[in-house]
Symmetry: C2
Subunit: 388 residues, 2 copies
């Protein structure tokens, strides 16, 4: 396979079905990566994640650098062995987390100094260190260190951040020493169409094996997210995988695939699960709703997950109200099963040339949380993370 | 099988191996029941509990009465179906919880009025209601409503509580309507040897199919616990199962079996697991200890649990420090595997007539937490429960 290790199998309107070769095996795209920030998909074992049909996980360099420390994981034989996951791992560079989680940061052209959101201690990342850490972790796909401007940044601020992201991308490429691992660039450009286009073009010229679109999970309106994806995607090389970072509600996945995205990661399906929001074909339901108190049928009778095959909605409602740890597990299994099934259906439809019909069906029946709720939840979560 | 459904297979010194028939299958004794207070063994699925080799669970009428409510569980087809556990269930009557968890209670001969430790609402249990609730839950083994005197109660206080417990036991027996379920009496008597003996004798005269020894997990010294077990056990009928309530650290189990106990339940193995205390053949270890930060071998190389087969001690240490939910699961699996293996070894040794040697070996190598720590932990836990 080519050095970018990506092969496009089928194009259906804008949607793409492909195969991505990695040191830990083949990934069929479009793919969704469950988030294992701290080397664990919250509540689940690697066996379970595998059983749910996922082929790649996302871990966070920022979190692992702070705890347990990159050197500990390296001594334990690398991240795959540490967390007992032998399929591909994609790691974020820490750029996004530094900008979204760290309470204080100072950025200069050389790198970024930040404080830990855990204990307030001071740390510094540079493009070179970000690559060094990810190589030590042994991630199959590494990300460049980027500067993530706020979603309401001025044009000048966004231009500056995007320029720095480009210079850092080149430095990351130069710092890379391991031939077996891939390093992807990150398109920035905030909410400015032309900056997104220029960023994509510039990075395409640096010949990365894959490209991510970053900075689109910071609370901007959904229509704007989609516009920015389109702006970037049209200037990215067709033969390289495109990774939409941190965006991945069911409706976002369908719309992202329609715009040519191959890789998704997002904490949303697992995070909202723990808050009681469960995916069903008709949209999200909230298990704390009193309507479920005596529902003897499962949350979703069409769902084949362990929770729906085994328990009534009443039992899940009870576990949620009683704050039982088993709830977080069952809800996570349920939502990830929904996403896994969605990805499979999407890929099959692309290969069959029927993605357009699937998209219409899905978007007309699935009722997402409304825009304001979504943004409020995101802001609340970010605030909580920072204060912890 | 006889109406008490218990058959003694072998006696080895004081230790007993037996078989207990229930509507949901046979239980080989001595048996340890993991605690599923709120219809779930915290963090685990019923499939997993079954896979760990456990044959009976304990659930709490007090907790289930408050949440989700007995009538909800009844409508959902009973407790077995509600929690998807088709093996035997033993339920406590709520007596112990009313006295240990409820912030306020008023007791009279008729029953006990108490406030919920969850929301402060007022409720009342009587012996008749305790049986009615347990029959509605459908527990294979029900317990009488008892009055649990404080471990430092005066002789007069304990005498009064024990007398009431006896009168309530007779009322429970009379209130029982379901022939398929068993109802066990509870021996009280505080820390007074003669009161324990008299209580056992009195209840033995009422011809219950099984007998529990209650009120021995309230923070008294361990030597006193053992003395009270002996006092009660010697006056209980030999052909009925004996259940030691709420006592079940590894060392307590071995010493309890030596004194003729057949059934144990205890939240300790799962509770201390979540606090980072893991059982090993040499005693409890604390996973938060920095010594585990870079230990690439498992917590216990001789352990066959999923956690020890799959992960390094370093990974468990990391999950604990990072407060990851997966830790609570893995630690629970580990400690319950230890207990399950211990019960199997104990039963095999009784059947082989070698329990004495096993007991000596175990007690000389296993290092339990010291007495003061144990009592402090228990008091801290009770305080936390009450304040929640």
């Amino acid at each position: 396979m080519a050095r970018n290790c990506f092969s496009l199998k089928k194009l259906d309107l804008g949607a793409r079905a492909g195969e991505l070769a990695t040191p830990h095996g083949l990934v069929r795209t479009p793919v969704f990566c469950p988030v294992a920030s701290q080397a664990t998909v919250k509540t689940l074992t690697p066996e379970e994640i595998n059983g749910l049909g996922f082929s790649m996980l996302l871990a966070n360099t920022y979190h692992l650098y702070l705890q347990p420390g990159v050197s500990v994981i390296e001594k334990m034989g690398g991240l795959h062995r540490f967390m007992a996951w032998d399929k591909p791992i994609l790691t974020d560079s820490g750029g996004y987390q530094v900008f979204s989680l760290s309470p204080l940061r100072r950025i200069d052209d050389e790198g970024v100094t930040f404080r830990s959101h855990v204990d307030g201690s001071e740390h510094r990342f540079t493009p070179e260190l970000a690559v060094e850490y990810q190589e030590a972790l042994g991630s199959d796909i590494m990300m460049v260190l980027d500067e993530c401007p706020p979603h309401d940044g001025t044009r000048a601020e966004v231009e500056e951040a995007t320029g720095r992201t480009h210079r850092w991308a080149a430095r990351c490429l130069k710092a890379k020493t391991r031939e077996d691992l891939s390093l992807y660039a990150i398109v920035q450009g905030g909410s400015f169409t032309d900056l997104r286009q220029k960023s994509a073009e510039h990075l395409a010229g640096l010949d990365f094996p894959g490209y991510a679109i970053g900075g689109l999970s910071l609370g901007e309106a959904k229509s704007l997210t989609l516009e920015m994806i389109e702006a970037a995607a049209e200037r990215l090389p067709k033969d390289r995988p495109r990774y939409l970072m941190g965006v991945g509600s069911p409706e976002d996945i369908v719309e992202g695939v329609a715009r040519g995205i191959d890789i998704f990661d997002c904490a949303l399906p697992t995070r909202v699960a723990r808050n009681g929001a469960l995916f069903t074909p008709a949209g999200r339901i909230n298990i704390r709703n009193a309507a479920y108190r005596e529902q003897s049928s499962p949350v979703d009778p069409t769902c084949e997950c362990y929770a729906c095959r085994t328990f009534s909605a009443a039992y899940l409602h009870h576990l949620f109200v009683a704050k039982e740890l088993l709830f977080y597990r069952l809800a996570t299994i349920h939502n990830l099963t929904f996403i896994s099934h969605l990805m499979e259906t999407i890929r099959d439809s692309i290969l069959a040339g029927t993605f357009g019909a699937l998209r219409r069906d899905f978007m007309s029946t699935y009722r997402p949380t409304n825009e304001r709720t979504r943004i409020q939840q995101k802001e609340k979560w970010l605030k909580k993370q920072r204060s912890e």
